[in-house]
Amino acid sequence: MNSILEIKNATKKFGGLIANDNITFSVQEGEIVGLVGPNGAGKTTLFNSVSGAHSLTSGQVVFNGEDITKKKPYEICKLGVGRTFQIPQSLNEMSVFENVLVAALNRHGSISVAKEHTQKVIAMCGLASFIYMHAGNLNVMQKKRLEIARALATEPKLLLLDETMAGLSGVERKEAINLIQRIKISGITILMIEHVMEVVMNVSDRVVVLTSGRLLAEGTPEEVTQNQQVINAYLGGMTN
């Protein structure tokens, strides 16, 4: 297997605050990697650096063999990285269908082809009954699903999911896990931030743990849950 994403010595400072401190890990093609850590650990900051929303203070991000450290968000999206936002950033004045359509235009110049693709993505994400609704009228759960749909519609090779399951009920969670597994089967690599441990441990092939900006541990879900450092720093308080 080859690495689709390599994060090398990534450091991001906000003034005096070191949000990411010399983080190095990589994601292999086809796997699901869970990124976990307590609030403020620097997970979203890392996503922003990978997707180009801001640039690293030092370090390097390599996607598919190409250095994307200095690239703009739209260039990184074109290369094949799709992302969701922890706080949904939907296009509120536009309909759900148009929200996804705009993303589908990333790979399709023609409106009619993009519309066909949009319908597939909408069906896959279970948003079909909302297509005429303005995105601004959706509730938070629906907006999170729309985030996934928009990211998927850009036809990424790598998908970055930022807490797309926070606040879901049991049934909804099962649906979401099912969706993620279908995305994986369609050949998309996933790096997901998730607080819900049940989900992370179930779907991830590997887990990366961050605390206070640093990489604490990395390994299969079993390895990570048995890691004494992780238990001390984080899981001990969370799993119960």
């Binding site: 739209y74 936002f85 296009l91 536009m94 409106i111 069906a123």
Partner: protein, 334 residues
């Protein structure tokens, strides 16, 4: 094509009906004033539609479009006076210059957000006016008088009657309306709306936002420049206080906002209503100075209060929050 006609049958019917009215109406008008108002409506409609691309669709509120209006007007004025060039050519020279100026100014200006962009464009347009005011070649404050009575006709775009002006300007309105309609549901149109809704979100789905904003700015500059050229030929006399004052920039914005921002026909509706109100209050209350502006302002406030989405919302049914039933879903998704 067949699908397109089906999907837009509403628009096509309304469009053809209004066009018919616009064509036939002057035949029933015997006095010059109403025709003058209709000519002004055409000019403002073109301006509003031009501004709509950047201010309406892309959501970047420019308060400096009088600059491009002025460039268009001067291209025709100077072209006719100094080179005896036909406006049919010089109007396109004006468009090219305006697009070029928009390209050069747009790159730095469009980095600014919201109010800062509005203020910066306003300042740039004022600079432009002051440059023209002090530029001897273009006549400075005295302006350019290019009334060319000797040879009225198609070459000079000068006519003794108002009718030809009206029909020529109406043709431009129709062409630009169709251009807007074509772009409305195109990739370009969707991208501009996405930028207006949320720039970060737009970038994250692969939209080069600075590039599309710049394209919209250039397009809108070109269209407004055309309006300036047409107006100059109607007036046959221009100076910086006529074609480049701040209130022209404001009025362009107002026409679109009043009519319905980011919509195809909003600017046309805005142009009709605002021009009629403004010209008729001025004609009616000419004896009391300033009273026409008072009435005009009061009417605008009333419209804004009751129709915050513009006059176009009068013609649109309110969209309810609509969730489809499984059966409808099946139908739509086929």
């Amino acid at each position: 094509m067949k699908n397109y006609i089906e999907a837009n049958s509403h628009f096509i019917i309304k469009f053809l009906a209004s066009l018919l009215v616009a064509i036939l109406l002057p035949l029933f008008i015997k006095t010059p004033f109403p025709l003058h108002v209709m000519i002004l409506i055409c000019i403002w409609a073109i301006m509003g539609m031009g501004w709509n691309f950047i201010g309406g669709y892309a959501g970047q509120v420019s308060n400096g479009h009088a600059l491009f209006y002025g460039i268009g007007a001067y291209a025709c004025g100077i072209g006719m006076k100094n080179f005896n060039a036909s406006p049919w050519i010089t109007m396109w020279v004006g468009v090219i210059i305006s697009i070029g100026v928009a390209f050069v100014l747009g790159a730095p200006l469009l980095r600014l957000k919201g109010h800062y962009f509005a203020l910066a464009t306003m300042a740039i347009a004022e600079c432009g006016r002051i440059i023209f005011l002090n530029w001897n070649y273009v006549g400075g404050a005295t302006g350019v008088d290019f009334l060319n009575k000797a040879e009225p006709g198609w070459y000079t775009l000068q006519f003794t009657s108002k009718y030809p002006y009206y029909y020529i300007f109406l043709t431009f309105v129709v062409l630009i309306l169709l251009l807007t309609k074509g772009l409305d549901k195109s990739k370009f149109g969707y991208y501009l709306r996405a930028i207006k809704a949320n720039e970060d979100s737009a970038q994250s789905v692969g939209i080069n936002t600075s590039r599309y904003k710049l394209l919209a700015f250039m397009l809108s500059a070109g269209v407004v420049s055309l309006a300036g050229s047409l107006y100059a030929n109607y007036l046959q006399y221009i100076d910086p206080s006529i074609v480049m004052p701040l209130n022209v920039s404001m009025m362009i914005c107002l026409v679109t906002v009043m009519g319905g921002i980011g919509t195809v026909i909003g600017p046309v509706i805005g142009a009709i209503v605002l021009t009629v109100i403004s010209e008729y209050t001025r004609a009616t209350f000419s004896s009391i100075s300033g009273f026409d502006l008072f009435i005009y302002g009061a009417l605008i406030i009333i419209i804004v209060l009751f129709l915050p989405n513009g006059l176009i919302s009068l013609f649109r049914r309110k969209q309810k929050i609509r969730i489809l039933t499984p059966l409808e879903m099946e139908e739509r998704m086929r």
